[in-house]
């Protein structure tokens, strides 16, 4: 379970001319196994929420709990334990450019000191799932946007994280591949993972029929169990 309590995020922390309130007094809970969509215009604070949940950014005010653990109490050297429970999918993929598709995906397992022979098998299965079995030895620079995104998704799934944070995962994809990826996320959700998806796509939100939190200028303006695109 993830709990965000009265959280405010101001960039940068000290007051300057460019000071920006990215989130203001945001509170919500996400239950295990839930599929939550965060919607809102560009700059509304969607990415900021995901970053705060995964301890990439510290909240200026407020508390975040991950499985009843206050994540601001994680020490620097223990952050990896939190991160291993999360699968990340970014709009800009964030693949390791000097590792092949196979190695990028396997890396998520290696960091948990997973068994070698199992790594081979599991990565092979996931590659098939995302349809990249023939590109296993490619480097990210040799892939199309969609293929990179599928690699990133495979990496986010492979270690069966409790939570998947997906930031605009379909932003660079055509409608055909976008649908594919949404289907995949729904399937993982059915298998028990919690999904938090940030998007400003009307089509995606309306077709998902899941809980939607709508943000505007860093505030939650709507939180509905079977939400629709309202902006």
């Amino acid at each position: 379970m993830i709990k965000v309590q009265n959280t405010t995020k101001i960039y940068p922390p000290n007051l300057t001319k460019t000071t920006k309130i990215a989130l203001s007094d945001v509170s919500f809970e996400v239950k295990d196994g839930e599929f939550l969509t965060i919607s809102g215009r560009s700059g509304a604070g969607k990415t900021t929420i995901l970053k705060i949940i995964s301890a990439q950014e510290k909240p200026t005010k407020g508390k975040i709990f991950f499985d009843n653990q206050n994540i601001s109490q994680f020490k620097d050297k223990d952050i990896h334990k939190l991160r291993q429970k999360i699968g990340f999918i970014f709009q800009d993929y964030k693949l390791l450019s000097y590792k092949t598709v196979f190695e990028n995906i396997a890396y998520s397992l290696e960091v948990t000191e997973f068994k070698d022979d199992l790594i081979e098998k599991e990565v092979g299965e996931v590659l098939e799932l995302v349809g990249l079995e023939n590109q296993a030895d490619y480097f990210p620079g040799e892939l199309s946007g969609g293929e990179k995104q599928r690699t990133a998704i495979a990496r986010a799934l492979i270690h069966r994280p409790k939570v998947i944070l997906a930031d605009e995962p379909t932003g660079n994809l055509d409608p055909y591949h976008s649908r594919d990826i949404l289907k995949m996320l729904l399937k993982i959700n059915q298998l028990g993972a919690t999904i938090i998806l940030a998007t400003h796509s009307k089509e995606i939100i309306n077709s998902l029929q899941k809980r939607v939190i709508t943000l505007q200028d860093g505030k939650i303006i709507k939180d509905e169990p079977r939400g629709r695109f309202i902006l």
Binding site: H80, R83, K94, L96, Y98, K99, E110, V111, T112, F139
Partner: protein, 302 residues
């Protein structure tokens, strides 16, 4: 840490080394330069100390005595000379010894025939004085110029040598200043070049390290491959510079000997092979390790 993890880290470091071509080349090149500088300095120091020793060994002061000077008078002078802290060795050479050594060194020589013809020993008794360093002969020759010795001394042959000695001491001190200057400037260069390359390295790795942390790698797991990569760069830089030195010295060994006044750089290289190899490996691997530690340290505390 498990053995399997160590293997993984090593494999990953090796992959980075091979795949990050331009980065590897840049790092390798800088370390290569540093290793070359380090080993050149080592050889330079070797050459200088050889030359100084060699020249000092060759320089001595010979005092020739008038024909009828008695052995005991010469002995008294010898005694006085050995009291000097500057004097390292005083050696007496009798006319007979001088004759014998002349005969030995001039076999089949027309001079020898001439010598045999006159049937007397024309050589004078002499002493050869060696000082600890070239600059100390001045003091000794001043001492020998005192009037009390002029009855027995036929000649102190520092007349020509004085110039050589002076030049030699000037040369020795020049070589030392040059050496220190060289060490300082080369060292500065190595540090500057390394630092700048490192800044580039750090920058190009920032993003990758961030991603690794994001997908849950702990710091030691991130650091390992970088260290392996650095050590590999250092090792290959050391290997390359060794090959370069060996090859170059081997091919120009003839010319070098003339240039260095008889000092055989190639021979020096061979007799000090172990020391040079360890020096090169130490500099290479040391710099490789330090550079990789510096390159990532900053980004592991995010």
């Amino acid at each position: 840490m498990k053995l399997k993890t160590i293997k993984k880290i090593f494999q990953s470091g090796l992959n980075n080394f091979r795949r990050q071509g331009s980065l590897t080349l840049a790092t390798l090149f800088v370390i290569f330069i540093a290793v070359i500088l380090g080993s050149s300095l080592f050889m330079f120091k070797g050459a200088v100390s050889f030359l100084t020793a060699e020249l000092q060994e060759k320089v001595d002061l010979s005092v020739f005595f008038k024909e009828n000077t008695s052995r005991s008078e010469i002995f008294k002078l010898e005694q006085k000379l050995t009291q000097f802290p500057e004097v390292k060795k005083v050696e007496y050479i009798s006319p007979e010894t001088a004759y014998k050594s002349f005969v030995e060194t001039h076999e089949n020589d027309p001079y020898l025939k001439a010598l045999e013809a006159i049937e007397i020993n024309p050589f004078l008794a002499s002493i050869h004085i060696q000082a600890h360093s070239a600059s100390q002969y001045g003091v000794i020759s001043i001492f020998l110029k005192q009037p009390e010795f002029q009855d027995i001394i036929y000649e102190v042959n520092d007349s020509k040598r004085a110039v050589i000695i002076e030049r030699l001491s000037a040369f020795t001190s020049n070589v030392n200043t040059l050496g220190i200057g060289l060490i300082i400037s080369l060292g500065l260069m190595a540090v500057l070049v390394t630092f700048n390359t490192l800044r580039l390295t750090i920058f190009s790795q920032k993003e990758e390290i961030g991603i690794m942390r994001l997908v849950g790698a702990k710091d030691s797991f991130i650091q390992g491959p970088f260290l392996v990569q650095g050590v590999l760069c250092g090792f290959f830089a050391a290997l390359l510079s060794f090959i370069l030195f060996y090859g170059t010295l081997f091919f120009v060994r003839g010319q070098l000997q003339d240039l260095f006044l008889g000092f055989n750089l190639f021979e020096f290289f061979q007799t000090n092979l172990l020391a040079i190899i360890s020096l090169q490996l130490t500099i290479g691997i040391g710099l490789g390790l330090i550079s990789s530690i510096f390159a990532i340290r900053k980004y592991l505390k995010a």
